[in-house]
């Protein structure tokens, strides 16, 4: 049976949300990102900004060189996740076969719906615009690979300066022909290294790749070679898997300046642990392994982990383990450039109940109460004493 797969991507998602929050940003070159003096990078930039050559992952300082009138606003991730949930909720009105691959991107399998995929896509785009007021682009094809590439192609073909709101459909049977003229690095699994190797073989388009005998490519790239040829011919059997399994949840931050002060490091660690804990609880998961990541001034990076006696999804457990790891593995006074906290060995939260002691249950209730306060009044409404630093500018993360 020919499948009907839609790839949906929200257009400049963070910026679109910011423009809803502050309509004066509408139509202006602006970006969501970190401050240049704090080595910030651009997380998302508006379509007017893109005309200047600004793109995401670019250092903010560089973006300001390209576009001096660029307005840089700080990120508001709580807000983005709220909007993202609203969009996903609309998708669920259609089908449960949804694979969310990031905050602003998802695959939807609409094979079971009677309507043609392109009209479902058009209706979805209109609904999200009307109900959530967010522009989106969609790719439609018989599999995930081609649907995603179709969406990329659709977005690129729109004129600059405004959200593309593209819908690109690849009819079943037309996959290979659609892919053939595209540059080979559009293909999933072809990074700069593979692309350079293929280039050396005279292969620049996906069509070139598809024409190669599979055996030749397998001889050169091994199993990866087989996969490459299949993909180049537009073949992809991967299902849309709704229960995308998370293996670990982590959060890290790069300091504006390298930090040697222990109290400051621990404050940051505490904030990171809280954010990881919160994400665990939202995902209804708990973990048994806590790890920290440290990058020194010379960019050498180390990760150290510890396995806890029991699964946890609580901020205080994660923080305590992370703090111990920091104490054990950071030579006193050594400056830190980047610090991160992660939790793995994930499973649904299960807690060993106690025969008579209910301290754990009390700590659990405390955590739930903290979450509720923060949901209603914001993260800073209630904090640990260790987090309250004298410098108010430190309070952002």
């Amino acid at each position: 049976m020919v499948r009907k797969i839609i790839h949906l991507d929200l257009d400049a998602f963070f910026c679109a949300v910011e423009a809803l929050r502050d309509p004066s940003l509408q139509g202006k070159p602006f970006a969501v990102g970190g401050r240049p003096e704090h080595r910030g990078v651009i997380a998302s930039c508006s379509y007017p900004a893109r005309v200047f050559g600004v793109h995401s992952a670019m250092p903010t300082a560089r973006a300001l060189q390209l576009c001096p009138e660029l307005i840089v606003v700080p990120g508001n991730h709580h807000e983005y996740s709220t909007y993202s949930h609203r969009v996903i909720a609309h998708l669920h009105n259609l089908t449960d076969l949804i694979e969310q691959i990031s905050i602003d991107e998802a695959f939807i399998d609409v094979s079971d719906l009677r309507a043609p995929a392109e009209s479902i896509a058009a209706e979805l785009q209109a609904t999200i615009m009307r109900e959530v007021r967010l522009p989106s682009s969609l790719g439609v094809a018989s599999n995930k690979l081609v649907a995603k590439i179709a969406n990329n192609v659709g977005k690129k073909s729109s004129r600059g300066g405004i959200p593309p709101m593209a819908i690109k459909v690849v009819q079943p049977g037309g996959e290979a022909a659609f892919l053939a003229p595209l540059p080979v690095d559009e293909l999933w699994g072809v990074g700069p290294k593979t692309a350079a190797e293929l280039q050396a073989l005279g292969i620049t388009t996906i069509g070139d790749l598809a024409r190669l005998p599979e055996a030749d490519l397998a001889a050169r790239f091994g199993k990866h070679g087989h996969d490459l040829v299949r993909r180049a011919r537009g073949i992809d059997d991967r299902p849309v898997t709704s229960d995308h399994e998370v293996k670990s949840i982590s959060n890290e931050t790069t300091f504006a300046q390298d930090i040697a002060d222990e109290a400051e490091l621990k404050r940051t660690l505490c904030r990171l642990a809280e954010s990881v804990g919160r994400r665990l609880r939202r995902a209804a998961l708990a973990g048994a392994t806590v790890r920290i990541k440290l990058r020194w001034s010379d960019f050498t990076t180390l990760t150290r982990q510890v396995t806890l006696p029991a699964l946890t999804d609580r901020d205080d457990d994660i923080y305590r383990a992370a703090q111990q790891l920091l104490d054990d593995h950071r030579p006193a006074g050594k400056p830190v450039r980047l610090i991160g906290v992660g939790v793995s060995s994930l499973a649904p939260p299960r807690e060993q109940l106690h025969l008579w002691d209910t301290t754990n249950q009390k700590r659990q209730r405390l955590q739930l109460a903290l979450d509720e306060v923060r949901d209603r009044f914001g993260r800073q409404a209630i904090q640990r004493a260790i987090e309250v630093s004298r410098d108010p500018s430190d309070q952002e993360l």
């Binding site: 060995s345 060993q352 106690h354």
Partner: protein, 372 residues
């Protein structure tokens, strides 16, 4: 002091008494083992001030005397010797103990025996007698449930209640309780209870394993030490001060589901599930349906496995999660062919019994899913 004995006997004796030598100590004398002639035997003694073990070895005593020598070196050398006659001679003026065994000659610089802490001698009339096998079984089935967390000293001990004609041992680390009643030969005149360090009882368990002769148990007044007297060995332990939690209150009175199942079968199923459970805090689930019980573990990282077992099930089906280590501990400690599992709900304590042996009971708390 001059005597001779068999290497085999001395080596075995040291392996018993030597267990009381502390691995680290600020008092050098405690790192030594006492050797003393005693009524035509060689007495070996070691102590860490909390636990003392004295053991007597058959010897041919020529002249009396006593000395302490560094335990670690003396034991290691003894274990390296051939099975032959060992002769020991003490030079009292230099406190040097010389040893010969076949072609081997050695000497040890000792510390005078008068510096060794006094080990209380049992009063042969006081106390109660218990069969060694019954005591050993009780220790095997209870001691493992004691806590190793030093922040709750009371729970690192085993409660021993003496009443009527029995001794009841109970240990609970907060997550599980193991309790067994052991018959005594004599009647206890006035009921009393003491808390014995689990570490001391673990040593007693080793010593009583395979022992045939009865064991005499006595406590010193006012119950601050307990003595276990065996034919060749006396083990003496300090007691733990404090109030033990009311363990009987923990035992559920009724159950909604009762499963009777082969002990060895469920033990093997748990050991298999433990392979996958080790990545996820040792969680296994027990799913009970009509006529069967499934033991399963699921790790999102390494995979999953399950075993379905035929069981006799009374009452409704249920799914409950436990720490598999707790289950393996108790199933391994039991010796009946069948066990009974009595449950009420996924968040209430489970009871494990040995079918046909009413003097044992085990309570284990489940793991609770989520809190939302």
């Amino acid at each position: 002091m001059r005597l001779s004995c068999l290497q085999e006997n001395l080596s075995k004796g040291l392996s018993i008494a030597g267990r009381a030598v502390p691995s680290r100590t600020t008092m050098p004398i405690l790192g030594n083992v006492l050797l003393a002639t005693d009524h035509g035997q060689l007495k070996l003694a070691a102590t860490n001030m909390e636990l003392s073990i004295v053991h007597w070895v058959g010897a041919r005593v020529e002249t009396e005397g006593e000395i302490t020598v560094p335990a670690r070196n003396f034991i290691d050398l003894m274990n390296s010797l051939p099975p032959d006659q060992v002769s020991l001679t003490l030079d009292e003026s230099t406190l040097t103990l010389s040893l010969t065994c076949g072609a081997v000659k050695a000497s040890f610089r000792g510390i005078g025996a008068e510096e060794f802490p006094l080990v209380p001698e049992p009063d042969s009339h006081a106390g109660f007698t218990v069969e060694a096998a019954a005591l050993n079984k009780g220790l095997t089935q209870v001691t493992f449930a004691a806590s190793t967390d030093e922040s709750h000293p009371v729970l690192t001990g085993v409660l021993a209640e003496f009443q009527g004609q029995s001794m009841t041992l109970a240990a609970a680390d907060g997550f599980r309780l193991s309790l067994r009643e052991i018959p005594l030969v004599d009647l206890v005149p006035a009921p009393f209870s003491v808390i014995v360090p689990a570490r001391a009882l673990a040593e007693l368990m080793r010593i009583t394993s395979g022992l045939v002769d009865p064991v005499r148990i006595s406590t010193t007044r006012p119950h601050n030490q307990i003595l276990f007297q065996m034919p060749d060995t006396v083990l003496n332990s300090q007691l733990i001060d404090g109030a033990y939690p009311d363990v009987r209150r923990i035992i559920p009175a009724t159950s909604k589901t009762r499963v009777v199942i082969g002990r060895e079968e469920i033990l093997q199923a748990c050991k298999r599930a433990a392979i996958f459970a080790r990545d996820v805090a040792n969680i296994v689930s027990l799913r009970i349906d009509a006529g069967e019980l499934t033991v399963a573990a699921d790790s999102s990282e390494s995979g999953q496995g399950s075993t379905r077992l035929v069981a006799s099930v009374e009452g409704g089906g249920l799914e409950i999660a436990f720490n598999v280590r707790f289950l393996i501990d108790v199933f391994s400690a039991l010796d009946t062919p069948q066990i009974a599992l009595e449950l009420n709900s996924p968040t209430n304590p489970g009871v494990i019994r040995a079918v046909g042996d009413d003097s044992f009971i085990h309570v284990v708390m489940p793991m609770h899913l989520g809190h939302r």
